[in-house]
């Protein structure tokens, strides 16, 4: 009889806390969104499964001696996984549109207002009972507005590891919701004429420009904002591998093997931060709310900057492309294209939106560097 009791006590069902059960449901929910609704499946499938595995009672897979816990320790605590993903993003990104029209960097800058507005929102929530965000917490939450997964994970792992799970889930979920969140704001802020502006074709960009670009960006970053150097450095390293033209093998490794392997590991590791005591809290609700706010504000300020540039250039810029400044590459640029086509069936804005889109990646990396420098310890 004794042995049966020992057996019963080793069963999951005898040890399941209600919170673990709920978090396993959350994990299933994320997997559902990823597969059925195609919400950023590359990240949300591993994150959801990581949440499932880490909330299994007794097994301790997400704990310090469990597999996922060890992966988290090696790859996320050190910051290495998001940086390697950023290298892959750099190797996958064509910065040509940005080089051809550098002024679109301003759209990427304007959209970062979503980040800083959210920072204030997070701090303001402290006036409500149940919220107690530090400046570090608020900064990590605010970066959701950057609409860039690896940047969000990198900053959260440095400033607020406890909130990492909720922040990553919010960041990737809202990135997936971009086609729903952005269009109404874009339409509300622009006139019919503005949306129908046909932009001038981009000039071709030479190979030398493409090779110099990552070096120039890195050196500027090194001189002005070294705290953003790991992120921007790895992004630009990946891009240099891509554009150098002489290291095809390495470029392919960065674009495929490394990013795929790291994505699996990173997803599982992030999922292990979806534990009941951290996730099933009032704060998560706040984070989800602020994340949505961040995307809306970023979209709005991007479009408004688009309108300013529209006027300043005498109507050459279609203000819609400002919405792509939030990053969420390449989803936001596609949304711009779609909203543009609604107005004029022959006006393809995709290439024009790629400039602000990748500028948004740089912009949020810069913002992350600022927050690290001023708020980090």
């Amino acid at each position: 009889m004794d042995q049966f009791e020992k057996l019963w006590l080793s069963m999951g069902i005898a040890n399941l806390e209600w919170g673990q059960g709920l978090m396993m449901l959350v994990g299933c929910g994320l997997i559902y969104l990823a597969i059925a609704k195609k919400f950023e499946p590359l990240l949300l499938v591993p994150i959801g499964f990581g949440a499932l595995l880490s909330n299994i009672p007794i097994a301790g897979i997400g704990g310090p001696d469990g597999m996922i816990g060890m992966i988290y320790h090696v790859g996320v605590e050190t910051g290495i996984f998001p940086l390697l993903i950023f290298m892959g993003v750099g190797a996958l990104t064509d910065f040509g549109a940005l080089i051809a029209r550098p002024s679109t960097l301003l759209l990427g800058a304007a959209a970062q207002f979503g980040i800083f507005a959210t920072l204030i929102g997070a701090v303001a929530l402290n006036f409500l009972p149940g919220f107690n965000f530090t400046l570090q917490d608020a900064s990590a939450i605010a970066i959701i507005g950057g609409a860039d997964g690896p940047t969000a994970i990198f900053l959260a792992s440095r400033l607020a590891p406890d909130l990492l799970g909720a922040i990553a889930v919010a960041a990737y979920s809202y990135m997936a919701l971009v086609p729903i969140i952005q269009p109404p704001i874009m339409r509300a802020l622009t006139t019919k004429e503005e949306r129908a502006v046909v932009m001038q074709q981009l000039r071709p960009v030479s190979r030398l420009e493409r090779i110099l670009f990552p070096l120039v960006v890195l050196i500027l970053c090194a001189l002005l904002l070294p705290s953003a150097a790991p992120l921007i450095g790895m992004l630009m390293f990946g891009n240099l591998l891509r554009e150098a033209g002489v290291v095809e093998r390495l470029s392919r490794a960065a674009q495929n093997e490394i990013i795929n392997i790291v994505t699996i590991m990173l997803g599982l590791a992030v999922g292990s931060k979806l534990s009941a005591d951290k996730f099933l809290a009032m704060e998560t609700l706040g984070i989800l709310l602020l994340g949505a706010l961040a995307f809306c504000i970023g979209t709005a300020t991007g479009v408004i900057m688009g309108k300013i540039m529209h006027r300043a250039t005498g109507g050459k810029i279609n203000p819609l492309i400002g919405a792509a400044g939030v990053s969420a590459v390449p989803m936001a640029a596609r949304v711009v294209n779609k909203v543009g086509l609604e107005e004029d069936h022959h006006n393809f804005l995709l290439m024009h939106a790629m400039g602000p889109n990748v500028a948004g990646v740089l912009g949020s990396a810069v913002a992350a560097g600022i927050l690290l420098a001023l708020v980090g310890n």
């Binding site: 064509d94 040509g96 940005l98 080089i99 550098p102 002024s103 960097l105 301003l106 990427g108 800058a109 304007a110 970062q112 207002f113 980040i115 800083f116 507005a117 920072l119 204030i120 997070a122 701090v123 303001a124 402290n126 006036f127 400046l135 608020a138 900064s139 000039r203 071709p204 960009v205 030479s206 190979r207 030398l208 420009e209 493409r210 110099l212 670009f213 120039v216 960006v217 500027l220 970053c221 002005l224 904002l225 891509r242 554009e243 033209g245 095809e248 470029s251 392919r252 495929n256 500028a359 740089l362 912009g363 810069v366 913002a367 600022i370 927050l371 001023l374 708020v375």
Partner: protein, 81 residues
């Protein structure tokens, strides 16, 4: 820190932060323009020099010219029948 102090601090963060973001990216606009001018001076632009090869090294692209060959063959075949 009280909630209010925190709020003030975050307002100042916003001001500085947006300032640096804009400052950084504005400076980058200028530098990129200079870079392009310099680059086009020492190596005048070819039409899409890097884009074309980039498109070529995607996996599975090797059969591309095969497709071309076949398309041409099939087209010619149809023309003659």
């Amino acid at each position: 820190m009280t909630e209010t102090e925190l709020l003030l601090e975050s307002l100042s963060l916003m001001a500085i932060g947006m300032g640096i973001v804009f400052g950084f990216l504005l400076m980058l606009v200028g530098i990129l323009r200079g870079m392009s001018a310099f680059a086009l001076k020492i190596a005048p632009a070819e039409p899409h020099p890097a884009a074309a090869p980039a498109a070529l090294h995607t996996a599975g692209s090797e059969p591309d010219d095969l497709v071309a060959v076949i398309t041409a063959a099939v087209a010619r075949y149809r023309r003659h029948h």
